[in-house]
Amino acid sequence: MPTQPAPPDATAPPDRRIPAPQGRTVLDPRDISRALTRISHEILERNKGATDLVLLGIPTGGVPLARRVAERISAVEGVEVPVGSLDVTMYRDDLRMRPARALLPTDIPPDGIDDKVVVLVDDVLYSGRTIRAALDAMNDVGRPRTVRLAVLVDRGHRDLPIRADFVGKNLPTSLAETVVVRLQEIDGADGVTIAADTISGGTTAGTDTVTDHPGEGR
């Protein structure tokens, strides 16, 4: 068979770039870095090392965060931690409420997730519906021994009985506010801002049950 060059990259749709943040900055790049370092340590502590760990980022924002956490763990433990991505689009409970959405990459590490300790990584935890979808999606991929959840920001207002095991920052918000996470790998710079929700629609509005943005929940 001929070799297969990688098809054009689908991880960064052109419309993903978020314009310069409006509103109040709640985490600057150094805050984000410190939060991820802390999460990495907490994961290792909880798991008593890196054995059987698999990090699955939820696209879009969760994927670079999972990679950064994996790098930190490797730096500490001296072993490679498998990182992947898990798209939840088809498992969303609001799939039929909007036009069909583009899929995002699902990339399961070669050794799979059976009997592994999977840490799901996302940028913002909000209603919890994305995580429910992720649990369903994972169910079709394999059967981990344990599933844990790491998020950069927990902004509260859960619709479902879901909580994070590792949280970068708890951020009390009102429903009228929007949390925007920008990441170097995607947006060219790191930062978390919070703003009154004045933009209707678009990438930053509303709750994660109604945003159509792939990296929603921000």
Binding site: P5, P8, M90, Y91, L95, A102, L103, I108, V141
Partner: protein, 316 residues
């Protein structure tokens, strides 16, 4: 995307690339333990085949089932042209059954178009091959296969060789490949090129040997021996000598050039067995890719409240 997929011309470049990207994601499913996704749970997809095509039907059936759709196979063979009204009657029946999408194969060019526009049904209609008109999902899977091997298709040279006149695959491929920026050359004896082909925005040639060395992709079309009886060419032997792809011609190809065939092949007519089975041949892979591409089309048309990329304005 539009609500129906009747012609490759229905796809903008953005639409086509979205299908290819989606297919790429869905193709990885083949490597997973559970080859099933929930996206079309509760949706009904009807395979309405007025013409035998086990390959295409199975491909659509597998695609729909992997997306958890309910699939109804409706073979209405033999009733198509003898009594035209059966298309309408069937459509009304399917409408009553609540089909969300009708995948239709028909011997009459334009039958899917009629199904979509005559007011008989509100379902999405996907053309799975109509007469000598089009076969847009075949073109998508061909483009997908090329894209996986060659990357972006801009400026790539694709030679489509054979019975262009009667080929719905050639029509859909010419349209889609132009949309994706490829250069298309249709190669056939003059009798097997359609009248007015100069308006298709493609190159044409009667001489396969002058085209092959420059091609990145060579797609061989099926040529039915019966065409000989209608004087499209003198004999099968003369046809394969002038237009068939054999080892000697294959040696003229560039190293990266791939050989495709939409099937079913007539080995010894348009392609020799050693070429079909060579390492350049991606014919088997085309079949695998067919399922992924059809999953992508079904998902993008039926997965949401509207087809993907539908703005409020389009939906109105």
């Amino acid at each position: 995307m539009k609500r129906h997929l009747l012609s490759a011309a229905d796809l903008s470049r953005d639409d086509a690339e979205l299908v290819l990207r989606t297919a790429e994601e869905l193709r990885s499913l083949a490597d997973r333990p559970i080859k099933k996704l929930p996206a079309l749970r509760g949706r009904t997809v009807v395979n309405l085949f007025f013409e035998d095509s086990t390959r295409t039907r199975i491909s659509f059936e597998a695609a729909a089932k992997r997306l958890s759709a309910d699939v109804i196979n409706f073979a209405a063979k033999g009733s198509s042209l003898s009594k035209g009204e059966s298309l309408k009657d069937t459509a009304l029946t399917l409408e009553a059954m609540g089909a969300d999408a009708i995948v239709v194969r028909h011997a009459a060019s334009g039958a899917p178009h009629r199904l979509a526009t005559a007011g008989w049904t509100g379902s999405s209609v996907i053309n799975a091959g109509d007469g000598t008109h089009e076969h847009p999902t075949q073109a998508l899977l061909d483009a997908f296969t090329m894209w996986r091997h060659l990357g972006a298709l801009d400026g790539r040279r694709v030679a489509i060789v054979g019975d262009v006149l009667h080929s719905r695959v050639a029509r859909s491929n010419a349209l889609l490949l132009r949309t994706l920026g490829a250069e298309v050359t249709l190669v056939a004896p003059p009798t097997l090129l359609p009248v007015g082909v100069d308006g298709w925005n493609v190159e044409t040639s009667y001489d396969v040997d002058s085209v092959l060395p420059k091609a990145d992709v060579v797609m061989m079309l099926r040529v039915q021996g019966e065409r000989m009886n209608a004087s499209y060419f003198p004999t099968v032997r003369e046809y394969s000598r002038r237009y068939g792809l054999d080892a000697r011609r294959m040696a003229q190809l560039q190293d990266h050039t791939i050989v495709m065939h939409p099937g079913p092949m007539v080995r010894g007519m348009e392609i020799t067995a050693d070429v079909a089975d060579s390492s350049r041949s991606v014919i088997v892979e085309q079949v695998t890719n067919g399922v992924a591409v059809r999953m992508a089309v079904l998902y993008l048309l039926l997965g949401g409240s509207e087809p993907a990329g539908t703005t409020e304005r389009d939906a109105a």
